[in-house]
């Protein structure tokens, strides 16, 4: 096969990371950046809990408190957990489906950098002293210029807008990758559950994020250009914001939780040495949850005056989500049933996940009952509920996934003792923090209050909650120590370090070579690697002869494009429209360059592949 020998561009050091289009490196960047923002959000959480540990505390001012809750929520959801999810997807999904790369490596890098600079823009608000303070939901009119003058909320609007581009690009990229780039024999119904979850999540991102984009654009137009979308005095309607926000916002929570479901399915099967119980119903449940996720947004608005018909319909629709979720929970339990369960740290997180998430799920059904929600709404009951799903559920799932795939991503296994310490501190701290919050809500404490009066019966539970938060913090510190300790060790992880790997990623070296598979593997069934192992094969059968492998060239353009957007964001926030236009121009020129410069990438020759001694 004839091919021109293009010059191989390879950068070293920091430039390598800034220009990389390798999904595995981008995945690591996502994990690092997500971890960084997660720590910031966690610190904000600890400050919130310190303020609330006793009644009428004055540790932070009311203004600072509102900034803390706003930034905590926004940071955790958009900049903490979503990037970690994207990191795992990037590192693992191509390996699970037998692809050499993602469909759009350049776009993938662009997605990371826009997310990163969007997040940076949002968090720079702490340094400028103008911090968003209207809550992560930024309900108008509080978030309008009349009541939030100054650039605070603009940081929220533009930071999220820019990082939202990244999510949308990532979603499209994974959809195309999964549809077009599966290895021979990897039919849809042979895909691992994590890949399925990625697929459905990406679809939700594609259909939900544009709504947020419009909402943020509208808020931006109102705040910066005198628009009237949400200004009642000029005919605007504040309910529009609530609807748009939650039409995005509710699918968003399934965007978050579905990947965790996927991770749990992988971890539970591996460490039970058993095939996933009811695989097809698991797939069905995932799709159904994704679908129903779009039908229930107004349950966030039961008290906003939608009327009894809407409230009744959205109550019932919301309750229905419990059914596919229940299917998943029982399938996990019956996967373990009759299995051979090994208590590794990822498995501990997965086992902790199941009952914890069920508790978050049942309070969700309780919240779905609209008349009862007239009491729960905006109380600490809600705070308890969504932290059970997002922290006890999602973050546990992410910890499980990170511990599980760490050797595949970095070539080193995390220390098991430290991993187990992380788990116990985290899970005990978690339940201490959030279980009592349900009862705070049920006895009349509303959410987002910077303090509460003495003698209301809230003191003890708040103290317990704060102690729990600090315990969770200790758990996270154990994890950080684990990461540092492990990084100092040599890369000794084998292909299948847990020895019970079932899916394709465990068939190749840890970490995977830059081309992932020297020869694309032939997939002969569900749990393809397990199947080969059970038939006595030590590796996958190749589906093609060894040949030169085409690789995309690295590029600095995604980084520069995102810097352009970052500059434009600043320009908009401080009403310097020339700066904004200049930033946008940088981005646009990079887009043109990308279109005009033909870059065919380069090839890795079979000799080089064989010299490395790596065989697929």
């Amino acid at each position: 096969m004839a091919h021109g020998s293009h010059a191989v561009k390879r950068y070293k050091g920091i430039l390598d990371w800034l220009t990389t289009v390798d999904h595995k490196k981008i995945g690591i960047l996502y994990l690092l950046a997500g971890g960084f923002f997660f720590l910031i959000g966690g610190l904000e959480a600890i400050l919130i809990r310190i303020q609330l540990w006793k009644p009428m505390n004055d540790f932070v001012s009311p203004d600072t408190f509102n900034e803390l809750i706003t930034m905590h929520g926004t940071t955790m959801i958009f900049l903490g957990v979503m990037p970690v999810i994207f990191g795992l997807m990037n590192c693992i999904v191509p390996l699970q489906i037998g692809a050499r790369d993602v469909a759009f490596p350049f776009v993938n890098a662009l997605g990371f950098w826009t997310f990163f600079f969007g997040g940076l823009l949002l968090n720079i608000s702490w340094l400028t002293g103008h911090v968003p303070d209207a809550g992560w939901t930024s309900y108008v009119p509080l978030a309008s210029t009349t009541f939030s003058n100054g650039p605070g909320v603009d940081y929220y609007v533009l930071g999220l807008q820019i990082s939202g581009i990244g999510s949308l690009l990532g979603g499209i990229n994974f959809l195309v990758t999964i549809i077009n780039m599966r290895a021979p024999g990897m039919s849809f119904m042979r895909m691992p559950m994590f890949t399925w979850a990625t697929f459905v999540t990406s679809l939700l991102i594609l259909l939900a994020f544009p709504a947020l984009t419009v909402g943020l654009v509208a808020l931006m137009f109102d705040r910066l250009f005198g628009g009237n979308f949400f200004d009642p005095s000029a005919g605007g309607n504040i309910m529009l914001w609530e609807h748009i926000f939650w039409i995005f916002g509710h699918p968003e929570v399934y965007i978050l939780i579905l990947p965790a479901f996927g991770i749990i399915s992988e971890v539970v099967t591996t460490f039970s040495r058993k095939r996933l119980f009811g695989y097809s119903s698991m797939v069905f449940a995932t799709v159904l949850i994704g679908f129903l996720g779009f039908m229930v947004w107004a349950h966030h608005m039961f008290t906003s005056g939608l009327g009894p018909v809407a409230n009744a319909l959205f109550s019932i629709a919301t309750m229905l989500i419990a059914v596919p979720t229940g299917i998943k929970v029982f399938n996990w339990l019956f996967t373990m049933w009759g299995g051979s369960i090994k208590f590794t740290s990822p498995m501990l997180f997965a086992i902790g996940f199941i009952p914890t998430f069920v508790m978050g799920g049942v309070t969700g059904v309780m919240l779905a009952a609209a008349p009862a929600d007239y009491q729960y709404h905006d109380s600490y009951f809600v705070v308890g509920h969504f932290h059970y799903t997002i922290v006890g559920g999602l973050v546990s799932g992410l910890f499980a996934g990170v511990h599980y795939w760490w050797p595949k991503i970095f070539g080193r296994k995390l220390n098991e003792t430290l991993g187990k310490l992380t788990f116990w501190f985290f899970i005990i701290g978690f339940h201490l923090t959030f279980f009592v919050q349900h009862f705070l809500g049920l006895t009349g404490m509303q959410r987002r209050i910077y303090t509460y009066l003495d003698g209301m019966g809230f003191n003890e539970m708040n103290l317990i909650s704060t102690i729990g938060a600090i315990t969770m913090g200790v758990g996270v510190i154990f994890f950080l120590i684990n990461v540092i300790v492990t990084s100092a060790k040599p890369r000794t992880a084998t292909n299948d370090p847990w020895e019970d790997g079932r899916t394709l990623e465990w068939a190749i070296s840890s970490p995977a070579p830059e081309y992932n598979f020297a020869q694309l593997p032939l997939i002969r069934g569900y749990d393809c690697y397990w199947k080969e192992k059970m038939e006595g094969n030590r590796e996958m059968q190749p589906a093609e002869p060894l040949g030169p492998i085409h690789m995309p060239s690295p590029s600095i353009l995604p980084f520069i494009m995102s810097v352009g957007l970052f500059i434009a964001g600043f320009g908009f926030i401080y009403h310097q429209h020339i700066v904004a236009a200049a930033g946008l121009a940088v981005t646009l020129i990079c887009m043109m360059l990308r279109s005009v410069i033909e870059d065919h990438g380069y090839h890795i020759e079979p000799e080089e592949i064989q010299a490395k001694g790596v065989k697929a």
Partner: protein
């Protein structure tokens, strides 16, 4: 606090037809399930009777608690099943040392999968039917009911205005209503979103800008009492401090209160204080027929339970936010931002004598509307509380 209110008749006999029959059936269910829920509730305190949704005093809140009980019962069942299964599986099927066998690779089991699809569906029907009934029940519009008392609630950063259109009176921070009555709340906001929440009596409703007026109703209990109200929607720095009170009084006191509110304003007796008060306070506030009704109405402020909604008036102060009505007024007027950060009340320039004079005048501005019965009740409940 007084012991829980006498049981209200939960079955509304006026309700006829299919819905009524259905409701009865669900109530039977409810009695069964509430046994389970009751056990769960005992584990935790039910909170203050004037504040806690778990300790409801009004009919609306009781209906809401019923839904909570059904859902908590069902959900406790689910949690128990899952926990039991999880614990059993984890213990029974742990990998024992030396056991390196490969378990049977089970693909699934249709019968089991159908069971855990159908049972949740049944449970959801059990919860869904009373939910829908209560949603429609609580959406009932009493505003045309002649016996109902209409109150227009307008939320402000960070105070509440209560207007009684049938009586033509306006008050702030304290909603005075007679016992055994239906109160129709029509809520809106003058600025940002707030949410009107009286946990012990009824749920909450968001206050949207005019044009999106929301309605809810409260059924007051058949006894007197003071119930805490809160703002439940983030509305700015002092969101936490935007409390109000619902004061349920007997019919005689209510009638007295209405006429006292309509009576001409009583200005400070000291002419110097009166002048300062008119110049510096009545430019924003009103008493009776005097002043500008833009900010909270001060008529009878000496009677209220709180100053600024958050400083609790009591002769036996126990906490930082408690004090005598005079001390509270003094503290509030002297430095409103210290009490309620971000509120719109400026620090008015007053000499020490003027400040004391105004605080004294306002502290003594009482409407003396309470009946004998109410005063006795208050005295006993005060004793029980301390």
């Amino acid at each position: 606090m007084p012991p829980a209110a006498p049981r209200m008749a939960t079955v509304n006999t006026e309700e006829a037809g299919l819905m009524g029959v259905l409701k009865n059936r669900w109530l039977q269910w409810l009695r069964l399930t509430s046994l389970l829920a009751g056990a769960a509730m005992l584990l935790s305190a039910c909170g203050r009777a004037d504040l806690s949704p778990l300790n409801p005093q009004g009919e609306v809140a009781k209906e809401q608690l019923n839904i909570m009980k059904i859902s908590i019962s069902i959900m406790t069942l689910v949690v128990v099943v899952v926990f039991t299964l999880a614990i059993y599986v984890v213990i029974r099927y742990r990998r024992r040392p030396g056991n390196d066998g490969i378990p049977v690779q089970v693909e699934g089991n249709h019968k089991l999968e159908i069971i855990w699809t159908v049972i949740p569906l049944i449970l959801l029907v059990i919860l869904g039917v009373p939910t829908v009934q209560t949603v429609f029940g609580q959406a009932k519009d009493y505003s045309k009911d002649e016996d109902a008392i209409l109150v227009n609630v307008t939320a402000h950063q960070y105070w509440w205005k209560f207007e009684y259109p049938q009586e033509g009176i306006v008050t702030a921070q304290e909603l005075v209503v007679p016992k055994n009555s239906t109160i129709v709340i029509e809520a809106k906001t003058a600025d940002v979103l707030h949410s009107f929440w009286v946990p012990a009596l009824a749920g909450k409703i968001d206050t949207n800008p005019a044009g999106n007026i929301n309605r809810m109703y409260i059924k007051t209990p058949d006894k007197t009492g003071i119930f805490l109200g809160k703002c439940a929607e983030l509305c700015g720095p002092a969101h936490a401090l935007m409390d109000f009170k619902v004061k349920v009084v007997d019919e005689e006191s209510y009638a007295n209160w209405i006429s006292a509110m309509k009576a001409p304003a009583k200005l400070p007796e000291d002419p110097a204080i009166a002048e300062v008060f008119e110049k510096k306070c009545l430019s924003c506030h009103a008493v009776g027929d005097k002043g500008v009704p833009v900010y909270p109405d001060l008529t009878g402020i000496g009677d209220r339970e709180t100053v600024a909604g958050i400083l609790v008036n009591t002769d036996n102060p126990k906490y930082k936010h408690e004090g005598t009505v005079y001390d509270n007024l003094y503290r509030w007027i002297k430095n409103p931002q210290e009490v309620k950060p971000g509120n719109l009340m400026p620090t008015v320039e007053l000499t020490e004598e003027e400040l004391q004079g105004i605080a004294r005048y306002l502290a003594d501005y009482k409407l003396h509307y309470e009946s004998e019965e109410l005063r006795n009740n208050d005295a006993t409940s005060d004793k029980e509380e301390r």
